[in-house]
Amino acid sequence: MRRKLGPLAVHLVLGAYTLLAIFPILLVLYNSFKSRKAIFGSPLALPGPESFSLIGYQKVFADSAVPLYYFNSISVTVTTIFITLLIGAMAAWALTEYRFRWNTLLGIYLAIGIMVPIRLGSVSILRLVADMNLVNTRTALILVYTAQSLPLAIFILSEFIAQIPKDLREAARCDGVSEYTIFFRIILPLIRPAMATVAVFTMIPIWNDLWFPLLLSPGGGKQTITLGIQQFIGQYVTDWNAVLAALSVAIIPVLILYALFSRQLIRGLTSGAVK
């Protein structure tokens, strides 16, 4: 009896949690297809023939800046993920594979970054970025986000690299390939699931971030989509149709990236490497 109830109970709990997590997103999605009156009149109702309206999307796409904000967000996020993964994996490889003098100390130093929120340094970062003439650039955001993401990336990737059997690296050394080839051709393919995990952990806070775009690139056409949406939120009047439509559109790239990475997340590749 318990055996049959067990999985059912688990699924009920998980299902309930899923509903809870998805509900706000659904609410945003279907309200974005309603007229302003319907949004306020019956916020929980699904769009019907009377309340259906695409006015929000029309406004968003009519705004010539939105595709630009979109591009900014995507380029910042993707570049940061790329740099974080590359440098993170290289650092993790060096820290786990090579024994050098300050190895442990360096590892701890890098791990401290996980515990200290980077926003504590906002003022100095802003000053630094201003001194470097990087205000209102995507570069500023990429640099800050890379710094923010690296500690956790190195931490996770080190754990995974340490699990790769030592024999594999030694076999490659006997095969006469360079350390770079070992890293790019043996290590990287084998830690793909870990890299996907890191990519997801890196991507979501960056995509959703409002703080640093607001501080570092609030204008000059370098705003990210999260910041761009703010233009529809006024002090006195908020264009809810446009806000909801813009938010709905902003979810899509994250979903696509997540779908791409999640296949890797699940896959375990090392099976069959050693008996």
């Binding site: 059997p165 024999d167 594999l168 030694e170 076999a171 490659a172 050394r173 006997c174 095969d175 006469g176 390939v177 360079s178 080839t181 051709r185 043996i186 393919p189 084998l190 590749l269 090392t270 099976s271 069959g272 490497a273 050693v274 008996k275």
Partner: protein, 358 residues
């Protein structure tokens, strides 16, 4: 192919000495097996030859080149690992071609070598498979193939058979022996299994606690072990050891008095009366009944029957039970009194330090 010469090699991890004063010459084209109990340093010695461990002192030469400070690849060796260490994300072809591809070997040459190795190892049908789709024996062959395509001067095998099941191990052992004949390769092979060592080796190197105890032809080690360690390690079941002391010493020879008061006469000299010695005799050289220079009286405790042969555990007056091989159906019964005999040529005598004296 090349000769490997190891001169006064030392290796320590911190304050722990794992290899001490190793001197060893591995002749061109020979099959040398390093054997010993776990922790004896045999794998470390192999890894220092491969260049995966640095040495603390001494010299390693492969061919006419000193290789102490060369990277593994520059030593022109190929290693087969116990775990096979196949690249899991590449197919069989990719695994074998990996090293060559990055060494700048032309594609046609890579194909030729991989094809040749695949033919020798009967891997042709598996070229597109990933390691996880292969059986243990197939993975083993791919690992050997990866070594062959490099056309190395020396092949290094680190316990390559210990992950295979018993039947496959016997087969692969024969395959490796054939491969050695065909490639005329210099092979250094590490194992803890003395049957593998006996059957494969041109030369066996028995190691213990970081030292070479004895190096020589398999049958030399079997018939003339240099010390008690080698005597006890080579042969299965292990040699029986009986404690005793030197009795009368005459011009022609001396007698050895064993713990159970029996006495055996040896020819030779260089011993003193009263010295403690150990007499060794292999189970397969002991006969039940019959005549011989050595006679041991005892009672059978238990008989292990393996079919054609069996092993009788006989307790005598002296300490540990003696194991004797018995053949055929007449294996004796527990409780039965027996006399075990052996000829002088089949006995070994060791001094107090365990060194062979006769």
């Amino acid at each position: 192919m090349a000769e490997v010469k190891i001169d006064n090699l030392n290796k320590s991890f911190g304050s722990v000495e794992v290899l001490r004063d190793i001197d060893l010459t591995i002749a061109d084209g020979s099959f040398v097996v390093l054997v010993g109990p776990s922790g004896c340093g045999k794998s470390t010695l192999l890894r220092t030859i491969a260049g995966l461990e640095t040495v603390s002192g001494g010299e390693i030469r492969i061919g006419d080149k000193k290789v102490n400070d060369l990277a593994p690849a520059a030593r022109e060796i190929a290693m087969v690992f116990q775990s096979y260490a196949l690249y899991p994300h590449m197919d069989v072809y990719g695994n074998m071609a990996f090293g060559l591809k990055f060494a700048g070997t032309p594609k046609a040459e890579i194909d030729r070598r991989v094809g040749e190795a695949a033919r020798i190892l009967k891997l042709e049908a598996l070229m597109k498979r990933r390691p996880r789709e292969l059986s243990g024996g197939q993975r083993q062959r791919v690992a050997i193939g990866r070594a062959i395509v490099r056309e190395p001067k020396v092949f290094l095998f680190d316990e390559p058979l210990s992950n295979l099941d018993a039947a496959l191990r016997v087969n692969t052992r024969i395959e490796i022996a054939k491969l050695h004949k065909m490639l005329k390769a210099t092979i250094v092979y590490v194992t803890h299994d003395q049957v593998e060592a006996m059957t494969l080796a041109d030369k066996i190197v028995v190691m213990n606690k970081g030292r070479i105890e004895q190096a020589g032809k398999p049958l030399d080690l079997y018939y003339k072990p240099a010390n008690m360690f080698v005597a006890g390690f080579i042969g299965s079941p292990a040699m029986n050891f009986i404690e005793g002391e030197i009795g009368e010493v005459t011009e022609k020879g001396y007698s050895v008095r064993l713990a159970d008061a029996t006495s055996v006469n040896f020819t030779g000299n260089g011993v003193r009366q009263g010295h403690k010695v150990t007499l060794g005799v292999r189970p397969e050289h002991l006969a039940v009944g019959g005549t011989g220079d050595l006679k041991l009286e005892g009672r059978i405790d238990i008989v292990e029957r393996l079919g054609e042969t069996g092993y009788a555990h006989v307790s005598t007056g002296s300490g540990k039970p003696i194991i004797a091989e018995v053949r055929g159906g007449e294996t004796g019964e527990p409780g039965q009194a027996v006399t075990l005999t052996a000829t002088l040529g089949h006995t070994h005598l060791f001094d107090e330090a365990g060194q062979r004296i006769g």
